[in-house]
Symmetry: C2
């Protein structure tokens, strides 16, 4: 095992450090963020920083770097108060990655990358037609964190989902939907279930449970 | 495709909603958080909310629910100013899951779950010996978010890592290390690389690149 210290990290070449530190948190979600400006011009950006914040109310957080490619995303969601989050799948991960290119603001990443805006009534952000889980969120708050990144919190108002993936206990089989995971800046992964595990209690070891949450029978 | 609205979510049974909403963000990182109190009693908790916040300085965020099992984690890191983040792997995911049982505060989850504290000099939190990526962080800030959860931000000061996983451009092959991903509350997944993709530019389509970031040769 190698022990790397703060001064070792500080001495790393910038690009090397970006790859390295981005790999340390583990697997990340891969989502496309859909927005539009007040003229209705659409924008689409891949982000790896969407995270669950709470189920009731249903809240999601994400981190946006103001000077990075998703800056148009931030401008748009502040202007309209809403945005969409859409799962990246094996079928669209290359197109999703391409949204991170620095297109001019006048170019829609939907058209440039071959993805289709899905409009829903009374909601001022495009969802992604090709995604098996599309969500429409209303902006709750934004705030600048210690390193200048923005924490964006939104509440889920709409979910468009392939319903066969929803199990009887509410669990969603995102493997079945082809959802991918990211590691570091540019590595895309499919996933293979090891197990769902039973609710942990001090006096028993966790057991594998069925996909629908029921005990496994022999 | 099924369209689920805010009122549908509101009407869901509580446990169903927890599984369902937790599945919507996609794959999550799986990490063990190691802390100790001011008497040196160790604590270990699995969290699925660790996320990358920045590479320079190297910052990680995580979300902790004050009234959930990791509340001892929060108390300890506030008392000592430090904590560890350790990758959960295929070899230890059942033990890691078991740390979420509601043990009494006097019980160390290390002993109860069969994991080994790894102490490093001048650092008041235990790392996890069995983990191939162990990190020691100093607390930067905590703040309460809109739904009462706590956002904890820390700076990475120590990394103990199996160095053969580090590629020449800084990319870490976390598949090789057996790192797992989580979905929803209790589903553990191994990962299989689709590809690393080249840096996206407007005038070209992304290409698969080698594990070390170099172009693939035919």
């Amino acid at each position: 095992m190698q022990h790397i210290t703060a001064s070792d990290i500080d001495a790393m070449e910038q690009r090397y450090r970006a790859h390295f530190i981005n790999g340390l948190s583990g697997y990340k979600s891969a989502n496309l963020i859909g927005t539009q400006d007040t003229q209705g011009n659409t924008n689409l950006a891949i982000v790896s920083s969407v995270f669950h914040l709470g189920a009731n109310p249903p809240l999601m957080g994400m981190i946006v770097r103001p000077h990075s490619v998703p800056r148009h995303t931030l401008e748009n969601l502040l202007a309209t108060g809403c945005y969409s989050i859409n799962h990246v799948t094996e079928a669209i991960y290359q197109a999703a990655h391409q949204t991170s290119a620095r297109y001019p603001q006048s170019t829609s990443e939907f058209a440039a990358c071959g993805l289709t805006p899905h409009e829903i009534p009374d909601f001022a952000a495009p969802l992604v037609q090709e995604s098996p889980i599309q969500m429409g969120l209303e902006l709750v708050s934004t705030q600048t964190l210690v390193n200048g990144t923005e924490l964006v919190i939104g509440e889920i108002k709409h979910i468009v989902i392939q319903k066969q993936a929803i199990q009887s206990d509410g669990f969603i089989d995102i493997e079945q939907l082809g959802t991918v995971a990211l590691s570091s800046l540019d590595s895309y992964h499919s996933a293979k279930r090891l197990n769902r595990l039973s609710y942990a209690k001090p006096d028993k070891t966790p057991e594998a449970i069925a996909l629908n949450g029921e005990p496994l029978t022999d």
